[in-house]
């Protein structure tokens, strides 16, 4: 049942992020949704272009971006953080950043699950 292993990126992670291990801001949870907010990719590194290419199509979670690009989640967060700083990517808040899930949100989860039965 294990999904096929994605192709490995050919560049080592610390090269991709310019040697940094941590993002410039700590706004990303694994399920934070990200989407491209502009189409210009001039001046971006190849890895950031790949992120932008993927994120042009619609919203994805940080974890999905990492999986599709076969990058570690931590590296993906660094790249996304830079792209938010440069105005290329915008985020939609996850429940993690909003603190505790509200009653309404739990109720919405419950209704959504029941509707699948």
């Amino acid at each position: 049942m294990s999904p096929p292993r994605p192709e490995r990126a050919l560049v080592r992670p610390h090269v991709v992020t310019g040697g940094r291990a941590h993002p410039t801001r700590n706004i990303f949870d694994l399920v934070t949704l990200v989407i491209a907010s502009r189409s210009q990719v001039g001046g971006l590194s190849p890895e950031k272009r790949r992120v932008m290419e993927l994120c042009q199509g619609g919203a994805l979670s940080v974890a999905e971006v990492a999986a599709h690009l076969a990058l570690p989640a931590s590296v993906t967060k660094v790249l996304l953080s830079d792209l938010v700083d440069s105005g290329h990517i915008v985020t939609r808040a996850s429940a993690a950043e909003a603190g505790q899930a509200t009653d309404d949100m739990l109720r919405e989860v419950l209704d959504g699950l029941r509707a699948r039965l």
């Binding site: 049942m1 949870d29 974890a63 996850s94 429940a95």
Partner: protein, 199 residues
């Protein structure tokens, strides 16, 4: 990657503004990836994380005492629950040594479904401890493997040392309906617990 990009289901629906996560926790080979696959609307994905951990070995050959790096893979899936909301399910391995990853996974998670196997009940203790340490509420789902012994609920509760309020359900991790019911039991419990807290 080309084929994945061509898929209609690749992206989150445009109207979605919120995302939540629930952990599917359990020991090795208990069925975490199976249940994520049964529930996910996308082909389950895998992301890897490099862990720097406090090493137990004193004679680390790398020359950096007390630190080692391991790679751990997380399988996850996605369910769109409404026009506004998506749920992500993350398989979480039951090993203490992945502490940093556990902190990342647990932060902001609604709760966890602990998968257990009646042939190896005691192997679920570690994962339950990891959740309790982080204050993350959980329900236990017995993944009823073919040929595994079936015990009465009270015996299982005792063997797992569950609190009276902790839900215990049976499921077949291969079956989407059965697995959805297990998640529903967890979310009902989360809503109940919240009510009790605020009462």
């Amino acid at each position: 990657m080309g084929s994945a990009l061509a898929s209609d289901q690749l992206y989150v629906r445009e109207t979605v503004r919120h995302s939540v996560k629930i952990l599917i926790a359990g020991h090795f080979a208990v069925g975490k990836t199976t249940i994520v696959g049964a529930l996910s609307e996308i082909r389950p994905l895998r992301t890897e994380e490099q862990m720097t951990q406090a090493g137990e070995s004193v004679d680390d050959p790398s020359g950096v005492p007390g630190k080692t790096t391991t790679t751990v893979a997380m399988d996850f899936g996605r369910l769109t629950l409404s026009d506004d909301l998506v749920l992500y399910l993350f398989g979480a391995p039951g090993q203490e040594r992945f502490k940093q990853m556990w902190n990342d996974l647990a932060r902001g998670a609604l709760g966890a479904l602990v998968l257990a196997d009646t042939r190896r009940i005691e192997e679920s203790f570690d994962v339950m401890t990891l959740l309790e340490e982080r204050g993350l509420p959980y329900a236990v789902a017995i993944n009823q493997f073919d040929g595994a012994p079936v015990f009465p609920e009270d015996e299982l509760r005792e063997a797992l040392d569950l609190l009276p309020a902790t839900p215990l359900v049976r499921c077949d991790a291969r079956d989407p309906v059965s697995s959805t019911r297990a998640l529903i039991a967890l979310v009902e419990y989360l809503i109940e617990s919240k009510k009790r807290e605020s009462a």
